[in-house]
């Protein structure tokens, strides 16, 4: 790893540590979900009903760490902050490894070229 690359990784780690700003600021400014990303409960409130087709598909998948929150919605805010940082670190580790593996496979496919 070059010195420049090392610096970039340090920058990324700092970003991960600062990432809870992404839940603290919306909390502080009383901002809710992104437009069009409401859960079924919120839709019920907004519309008075949940669209039939939407309801069928909404819970298709149970993500292991929903909403970057290890403790679930009711966990204390501090725990959510810690969860968020852990999710950030975990996330960059996973996407980094996946991209690395894809790149290696792609490169091996065309014979070694430095």
């Amino acid at each position: 790893m070059t010195r420049f690359q090392k610096k970039l990784w340090i920058g990324l780690i700092i970003m991960a540590l600062l990432s809870p700003l992404g839940i603290l600021l919306p909390e502080k400014f009383n901002a809710g979900d992104a437009w069009g990303e409401w859960g079924t409960e919120t839709l019920e409130k907004l519309l008075g009903y949940v669209p039939e087709g939407l309801k069928k598909l909404a819970d298709l998948w149970k993500a292991p760490i929903p909403d970057y929150n290890l403790g679930g919605e009711s966990s204390p805010f501090m725990a959510q902050v810690v969860s968020y940082v852990i999710s950030g670190i975990l996330g960059i580790a996973i996407v980094g490894v996946v991209v690395y593996v894809i790149s290696k496979i792609v490169i091996n496919g065309h014979g070694q070229r430095n």
Binding site: M1, F4, Q5, K7, W9, L12, M15, A16, L18, S19, L21, G22, L25, P26, F29, N30, A31, G32, D33, A34, W35, G36, E37, L43, Y49, P51, E52, G53, L54, L57, L60, W61, K62, A63, I65, P66, D67, Y68, Y84, S87, G88, L90, G91, I92, I94, V95, G96, V97, V98, V99, Y100, I102, S103, V106, I107, G109, H110, Q112, R113, N114
Partner: protein
């Protein structure tokens, strides 16, 4: 902008899976030709960056939230096809591991944020920048590429959501999937991205271009040199 499961009808998400598949196949082919081992760390870092920047939710006080995606700066630095792969990997992991964006909507979300956005950003940057090697024009190009890249992606997302009531209604006249029509979805998504989130994306793009010009100008200059031959040089 991460469409959850249930918001898109199969008539919408299946074709969008198809579209994304086509772009993934071409992108992998391009990488095969142009990627060299020393660029792999940059690709991994690009994906990591996109993942993290998306965690910074920006509030509209009393309203919704949104975030930058980072696809613009990745497209400008590493080429749009590299951005297709890096950002798609991020979106797929977000959907599977963190439930951010639906599984059925992976094709749509990748099309919006990992295909439309990087190509809009890339072409806009190129066109506005022209031959300039620095200065106001280059930074204007960087800002516009981030700003419009994200805003156009948001607009396309809004269209996908807004056409749902036209596609599928239950017998009692209620929408089956995303409930809001184009006349609501498009202004809502377009405005919040043009006014706030897109501007943030633009600023992020400018700051990073500035940083890379100073420390690793090769990544940018090669590109202006030979537009066709380079990409991941």
């Amino acid at each position: 902008m991460h469409i959850p499961d249930g918001y898109l009808s199969p008539q919408t998400y299946v074709p969008l899976y198809g579209a994304s598949l086509v772009f993934w196949a071409i992108a992998l082919k391009k990488l095969k030709k142009e990627l060299s081992a020393k660029h792999i760390p940059y690709l991994a870092m690009a994906a990591a960056f996109s993942f993290l920047i998306q965690m910074f939710n920006i509030p509209i006080p009393g309203g919704t939230t949104g975030h930058a995606v980072g696809a613009g700066i990745i497209a400008v630095l590493l080429g749009p096809w590299t951005a297709v792969i890096a950002v798609s990997v991020v979106l797929i992991i977000q959907a599977i591991v963190f439930g951010d964006g639906g599984i059925t909507a992976i094709g749509a979300n990748c099309f919006n944020m990992a295909v439309v956005m990087p190509f809009v950003s890339y072409w806009l940057f190129k066109v506005v920048k022209g031959n300039s090697e620095g200065g106001t024009r280059l930074y204007t190009a960087a800002f516009l590429s981030g700003w419009f890249g994200l805003s156009i992606a948001a607009l396309i997302t809004a269209v996908e959501l807004g056409i749902q009531p036209l596609i599928a209604m239950s017998p009692d006249g209620r929408p089956l999937y995303a409930p809001y029509p184009l006349s609501v979805a498009v202004p809502a998504m377009a405005l919040e991205h043009l006014l706030l989130f897109g501007a943030v994306e633009g600023i992020v793009t400018v700051l990073l271009i500035k940083y890379f010009l100073k420390h690793e100008p090769d990544l940018i200059e090669r590109k202006s040199g030979s537009s066709e031959a380079r990409k991941l040089h």
